[in-house]
Amino acid sequence: MTEETLDTRRSSLDALHHRHLLGLTGYSTGEIRLILRTAREFREVLDRPIKRVPSLRGVTVVNLFFEPSTRTRLSFELAEKRLSADVVNFSSAGSSVSKGETLKDTARNIEAMKIDMVVIRHKSPGAAHFLTRCIDSVVLNAGDGAHEHPTQALLDLLTLSDLALPRFPADQLQQGDLGGLRVSILGDITHSRVARSNIHGLRALGAEVMLCGPRTMLPREVEQMGVCTTDRLDEALDGCDVAMALRIQLERQSAGLFPSLREYHERFGIKAEHLARYPDLYVMHPGPVNRGVELASEVVDSERSVILNQVTNGVAVRMACLYLLSGGIG
């Protein structure tokens, strides 16, 4: 690398034009590919003896988690620490929020402590957008209600693009060209922020998407997003390269959206017989898995499940997002 300048050469198509990561809706194909390409380089850092680079030294990141989360929060925290950022964690339990403080006041008070970036998880759709109007820091959405979960979709896309699928030319998927890839998303689409972000990301990279679940869990007019729907699992798996099962929130049963967990598993759960019937099928899940509901236990543990790859890729993708978005600080 010449010392004269850092290498910033790229076409205008693959520069990140956003200051925040609020959702994948609005992110262009080039921007998504840039994040995936950068994440691949950060994944290499995770394989080094010293898994840390100084890129975010001096940057303070606050993880604002108003909703319980284990892996997303851990993943973000690890990503921040791998980039040498200063990290502060906040959870609403036991905080001033439980005393009635508003999101706006909480955020503004934390920002007054001189922070640079905020990662927010909130049960209300639009909370991340709202935050950008209250504070000057860079905001990353770690899941807002049933709206979006962009880093989950990005880590799913990275995992998909690394699959060795013989029917695709070498490197096509790795280049972020998912044209011809068939992905079925299974489960509660209506209440899933993961599905919403994934549909946009997959469609942006050219994949064909089919949604499958009980009709009570398929949103109306979703076909307008360029996807097909079905309530028959075999139809969703036939000719499909990757099945992405979504976590069923157990309280949905009491809401009457499906009769029983056993029946859900019978109709929509992926079982060993499916892996046998579709020998090229890969299985993904954003976790945590309800074993015996979305996926049979032997499917979770099979070689065709890439769930742990998703977890590893989550750290790399979050490092890439933090790194690229931090470029505007200072």
């Binding site: 690398m1 010449t2 010392e3 004269e4 300048t5 850092l6 290498d7 910033t8 050469r9 790229r10 520069a15 990140l16 390409r37 950068t38 691949r40 380089e41 950060f42 290499e44 850092v45 080094r48 003896p49 010293i50 840390r52 680079v53 100084p54 890129s55 030294r57 940057v59 790194y323 690229l324 931090s326 470029g327 505007g328 600080i329 200072g330």
Partner: protein
Amino acid sequence: MLLSPDDTVKAQLMDGADLDRTLNRLARQIVEHLDDDAEPADRLALVGMQTRGVHLARRLRDKIAAVEGLDLPFGILDATMYRDDFRKRLRQPVVHPTDIPFDVDERRLVLVDDVVYTGRTTRAALDALMDLGRPASVRLLALVDRGLRELPVRPDFVGRTVPTTPGEEVRVRLAEADAADGVWLVERATNTE
């Protein structure tokens, strides 16, 4: 395109033939360096800095292989993540791959870059190398040393030393990435920050 239309060329420092002759000399210097008992050849390796240092290192490896029959291990290093100035000066630098397919521990490394200037990239590269292991030694090879150092860095092997001013830039162009080989001194065209 070799140079930007906005570039004002002040001098061509090397054409393709000059560049090849310079690399031949640098390859011989590395080989002479190998003859030193303190630098056994079986532990030497070349590491090219992204992006044009990689092409230069590859050419040096090939020249050494042709002359000496030595097949030196070859790696690629990107130090962008270790730069201390990207948030101050630039937005979204492009991160390129790092691929060092050998154990750097106890290796005697020759770090190859196209231009050495402030010394900050070299510092970043050294930080990156140290995170990958503990090399026995690191030598720096630069095709062009343009001076104006901000850190105490001095290349061990230099293709050409060219005194410059901060308003100038050295453009190294290589056939692998550009249309042809050559090195030019240009007036800084636009604010690349």
